[in-house]
Symmetry: C2
Subunit: 201 residues, 2 copies
């Protein structure tokens, strides 16, 4: 992929960002990491399946946690579980990036890798609420009567997780190299455009 | 260009958005409109050269103006000059869009055309302040000691103009179909990516 090895994808809930990432990984024949990162981190921390389920991209920031970030502890066992997971996920993301080209969805990967590597292309996928509601109902089987609440709830969770862990604003275009409206551009064309840019940069 | 006929480009000051638009227009062989729109509007209003110089993308909103938007007056002579210009520019933009494929830079064209046409691709070009400062000094001949003030001043002017005239937030990605970081992607590749997407949508 030229100078770019790692493609990170941030995404609004039900915008199709995961599907875009999956497609890129298939077309380029490189690994795709999303929930896998949580599972790798959980394994290192010897977490139970139940704890893992509730910890995905969930923030529980604390003073202890902020201190651990400053001192760069990687397994500060005194910290709340969600914070220990983030610290562990951060290490997993850095390790995966070292292993070669890949696509990483969510998990603040853009911010984590931006500071230590220059071969990262950071993308954000978004869409209008109506299109996302339609996708959540059709693709994820959500109930139409609850879907707008669900969009808000998921986006709130992701933005809190991102904002607390990075000190930046989730979805603010300045954090990314490219932002695509998947409702207008479509999943396939989003993937194609990202591949083309990442290959030629 | 497939379903897309009009490409609008919003841009942070000194991000190279104008250059991207010019390149697209040259490669596709379609007209490029930027300051031309102001001059066409000014001609209709029989404005002096001095008035034109100070009115470019400058807002002076008023209650009268808001009322005129609601009643869709096109030459309400009682309005402040800047508002009369915007109303006239809006008509010029609509007319130009009817005449065939083109690239339009700035002037709230995305918002003006989105409501009445579905063949519009709305793009926003941005970059980090350091890259824009460098461009402003190298390309526009600005003084290094004043350049960050200049960036802020120009962006403020553009955002006020956009926000007051459209009721939306300038540079907020939800208003656009695609946002590109020109410092990372480069002017040429920005133009290529936009052309490819606009051609295949």
């Amino acid at each position: 992929m030229g100078k770019i090895n790692i493609i990170t994808i941030g995404r609004e809930y039900a915008s199709g960002g995961r599907a875009v990432g999956k497609l890129i990984s298939e077309k380029l024949g490189i690994p795709f990491y999303n929930k896998e990162i949580l599972h790798m981190a959980a394994e290192k921390l010897e977490m139970s399946a139940d704890d893992v389920k509730f910890a995905d991209e969930t923030a529980a920031s604390s003073l202890l946690y902020s201190m651990s970030l400053m001192s760069n502890l990687s397994a500060a066992t005194a910290l709340p579980l969600n914070d220990r997971i983030f610290i562990e996920e951060r290490e997993v993301i850095k390790t995966l990036a070292q292993q070669g080209p890949c696509v990483i969805v969510g998990r603040c990967a853009d911010s984590i890798l931006k500071e230590i590597r220059d071969d990262v292309f950071n993308v954000f996928i978004y869409a209008d609420s109506e299109s996302r509601a339609r996708r959540a109902v059709e693709e994820y089987g959500e109930k139409p009567e609850n879907v707008y609440t669900s969009l808000r709830k998921h986006d709130k969770k992701r933005s809190t997780y991102y904002n607390l862990n990075t000190g930046q604003k989730w979805g603010a275009k300045d954090n990314y190299d490219l932002c695509l409206n998947s409702a207008k551009i479509g999943i396939d064309m989003c993937a194609e455009a990202i591949i083309k840019l990442a290959s030629e940069l």
